[in-house]
């Protein structure tokens, strides 16, 4: 056995490979993205012939892995918590039908949230679906729990969820490594129509079987909470915690000199809670504190009015349980003298912005300049940052830009007046993920709006995972590329233009044409594909012309370029009261040549292009 410093997500990926998993699928999303990348890396290291797949979305990822489990092989699917919303349909039914080979679902939650639309708790989804869920407190524990999840899944023929949170996914720690188990099971699908194709009349029996499995799981010692007894200083009182909130509670108790003084339980499987644990907590304690993220899953199962937690509002119902928050909760619960707290509100720090030279900035500039009174439904990705440029008005969930654009159109159009120009923006990966059904729907319903597909050839924000347009698999092998233009045409769109996003003049002309088409008698949805490779991708910047730029003395210091364009390479020179070019950061895309109202940003002829 060796030890290696691994990020939580890498530890989970390693665990999946060590357990002899055959098929692993995912769709990228913070904080889960590195799990599948690690599976690919460790499978390659171990020489395993795994199928490792970046699927088009989480629902498809779930179904691919699920069917692999039907053949008796081990399979894993990973996603961020809101990805499980997308995959919830196959997830719910898979609990009823069960699995064959061990089936692991990793749903990574994001209390805070740091990089998500909600801070929803996937453990509630597990309870909703009636499947067991494991809640690791560290990368090391997350890896151990992968093994436990596969074992439980096979023993009970049930999907098992592992629910890490951001602070486990992105923690680093030395983790023990074992030799990966080599998968030797051949694929064998046994047809059982009453199960795999259960019609409604078989469903009640399957549901009964599921309830029975849960009853047996409640008595399985592997799911029992771990007890850390106190020394009796604080009698008939206990603290129950799970996940990384357990780890932080431990550290805070250490800091307060209270470790070992009060009874503590670490709940490793928040659902289903063992029946005898619920009874023991009810009979042995007068005061109980539950610390868990993010919703009261353990607390609700205890159904105990002695419990302090989210229900009693001792634990805040929103936000991450940081050590500061936990300290405040413990001080109140244990009746201690509050220590001085640092409550001064801190400045937020620099807000994120699109990179220097990002093609999205050029496209957003053209859109906002062309349609000063437009409505701009946006989507999920780096390009949500178009909100800084006044070119994104909504951000909801994956693919929502196109559905919302249609909703805006129908609402305005039925008033019988001139409707505004509605411009939806969506990235290439998001378009593949869930933009296609919305586009088909909008065309079919005769909506009139513009869609600008921002194609940077990658899934940029989550770390450059390949899209179907690229034709490269998660293992780095050749896939068959699927082209956005073909999908757009096949969706019935009659107006389609493709343009280099840096070419602001042509893009602006296309936007004007598209608006005219959309408003014409036979008009409908118009699509423009604005392409520009992500400047952070390895292959970017090698193929395009470069434009050295400089700012002349004519700069009036009006700051329009800073406020409307917000390129990190345009820097304010306080002393001169003018704008300058940050030569270290400028990507030389030349787009800012269009931006200055007095023409003070010019091509630098003196420098070779």
């Amino acid at each position: 056995m060796t030890r290696r410093v691994l990020m939580g997500n890498e530890a989970i990926g390693r665990g999946i490979v060590e357990c002899g998993c055959s098929v692993a699928t995912s769709y990228p999303g913070t904080p889960a993205s590195e799990i599948l990348e690690s599976v690919a890396t460790f499978a390659r290291e171990a020489g395993h012939r795994m199928h490792v797949e970046w699927s088009v979305n989480e629902k498809v990822a779930y179904e691919v892995a699920l069917a692999a489990s039907y053949t008796g092989k081990r399979a894993a699917v990973s996603m961020k918590q809101v990805g499980l919303n997308v995959a919830s349909d196959p997830f719910m039914r898979s609990a009823y039908l069960g699995v064959k080979g061990g089936f692991l679902l990793v749903s990574a939650d994001d209390p805070g949230p740091h990089s998500s639309q909600t801070e929803q708790d996937s453990r509630f989804y597990a309870m909703f679906a009636k499947v067991p869920v494991l809640d690791p407190s560290s990368p090391r524990e997350a890896k151990e729990m992968v093994g436990l999840a596969f074992a439980l899944s096979e023993a009970y023929e049930i999907p098992v969820m592992l629910r890490p949170t951001t602070r486990v996914c992105h923690a680093r720690q030395a983790v023990p490594l074992f030799t990966p188990e080599r998968e030797v099971r051949p694929a064998r699908f046994d047809k059982e129509p009453k199960r795999w194709c259960a019609t409604p009349r078989f469903v009640t029996d399957l549901h009964r079987g599921l309830t029975d499995k849960l009853g047996r799981l409640r008595a399985d010692p592997r799911l029992a909470p771990v007890f850390f007894p106190g020394d009796g200083t604080v009698p008939r009182t206990c603290i129950i915690a799970s996940g990384v909130a357990f780890a932080h509670t431990w550290d805070v108790l250490d800091e307060m000199g209270l470790s070992g003084k009060v009874d503590r339980y670490q709940v490793k499987a928040p659902y289903p809670l063992p029946t005898d644990f619920i009874e023991r907590i009810g009979s042995a304690y007068e005061r109980v504190l539950v610390v868990e993220e993010t919703y009261p899953v353990i607390e609700m199962q205890l159904a105990n009015r002695m419990v302090s937690g989210r229900g009693s509002r001792l634990v805040p119902n929103e936000g991450e349980l940081t050590p500061e928050v936990i300290r405040g909760v413990l001080v109140e619960f244990l009746g201690l003298e509050p220590a001085p707290v640092h409550t001064a509100s801190m400045p937020a720090g620099a807000r994120p912005t699109l990179c220097a030279g990002c093609g999205h900035r050029a496209a957003y500039y053209a859109i906002s300049q062309t349609f000063p009174r437009g409505i701009f439904p946006g989507d999920i990705g780096c390009y949500t940052l178009g909100v800084n440029l006044g070119a994104v008005d909504t951000c909801h969930c994956m693919g929502a830009s196109i559905g919302q654009a249609a909703g805006f159109y129908h609402a305005y159009a039925q008033d019988g007046q001139a409707f505004p120009s509605i411009v939806a923006t969506i990235g290439d990966s998001t378009f593949f993920h869930s933009g296609i059904p919305a586009l088909v729907n909008a065309v079919n319903q005769r909506a009139r709006f513009l869609v600008v597909i921002l194609d940077n050839g990658t899934t940029a924000m989550t770390g450059h995972q390949p899209t179907p347009g690229l034709g490269r698999t998660a293992s780095g092998e050749q896939g068959r590329p699927v082209f956005i233009r073909d999908l757009v045409r096949a969706s019935g769109v009659a107006f389609l233009q493709e343009v280099d996003a840096y070419d602001v003049e042509t893009l602006t002309a296309h936007l004007t044409d598209a608006d005219r088409y959309m408003r014409s008698e036979e008009g409908g949805v118009a699509v423009i594909i604005a392409s520009s490779p992500c400047v952070l991708a390895a292959e970017a910047g090698t193929t395009r012309a470069v434009h050295a730029v400089r700012v002349t003395e004519d700069c009036t210091g009006c700051r329009e370029c800073l406020d409307l364009f917000e390129c990190p390479a345009l820097v304010w020179d306080e002393a001169a009261g003018k704008v300058g070019i940050g030569q270290g950061t400028c990507a030389r895309c030349g787009v800012c040549l269009h931006v200055c109202p007095v023409g003070a940003i010019v091509a630098d002829e003196g420098e070779p292009a």
Partner: protein, 168 residues
């Protein structure tokens, strides 16, 4: 050994790499270590922070007023993340000159080393040279050798050593 370190900077400045080097070095020295870092949208130039806890800790987060050491890759982050430092803690800042703070121009040192993106390692060298971290420069140099791809190694080491030199 117990030491809590915050590394603060802007997305793209190499906060993650610096976090990883600190974690690897602590492990190589036989310490327990747990860290956490910022991923996602904030990495696009926003304020980002990592925490590194060396010693028998369980959770990765550091509370306000607990950190013994703060490495600030951007001076603008001091008012944002400075509160993590305990009273008497050490803040080392990448800046040309910052009255009242221990500043080193890590950007310049890295640029002179031919690797402008290695300001993170120049700041690490400065901190290691000052003796405020759980280990000295030799351990960090060995760690950088172990985790850096060959084509960047020499210039990264040059930047790191320039930081060590600047601390003297």
């Amino acid at each position: 050994m117990r030491q809590r370190i915050v590394v603060s900077g802007r997305g793209g400045q190499g906060v993650l790499t610096l976090t990883r080097v600190l974690a690897e070095a602590a492990t190589a020295a036989g310490h327990e270590v747990i860290t956490t870092e910022t991923h996602g949208m904030a990495q696009r130039g926003g304020a980002v922070i990592s925490t590194i806890k060396v010693g028998p800790f369980h959770g990765p987060l550091i509370a306000s007023g607990e950190a013994e050491v703060g490495l600030f890759l951007h001076a603008d982050n001091l008012p944002v993340h400075g509160h993590y430092l305990r009273s008497g803690g050490t803040a080392l800042v990448n800046a040309t000159d910052l009255p009242g703070h221990d500043a080193v121009d890590a950007d310049r040192l890295a640029a002179e080393a031919g690797e402008p993106r290695a300001a993170n390692l120049a700041l690490l060298g400065y901190a290691a040279g000052k003796g405020v971290l759980f280990a000295g420069p030799d351990l960090f140099e060995a760690t950088i050798r172990r985790v850096t791809p060959a084509k960047h190694l020499e210039r990264n080491l040059t930047a790191f050593r320039a930081g060590v030199e600047a601390s003297k």
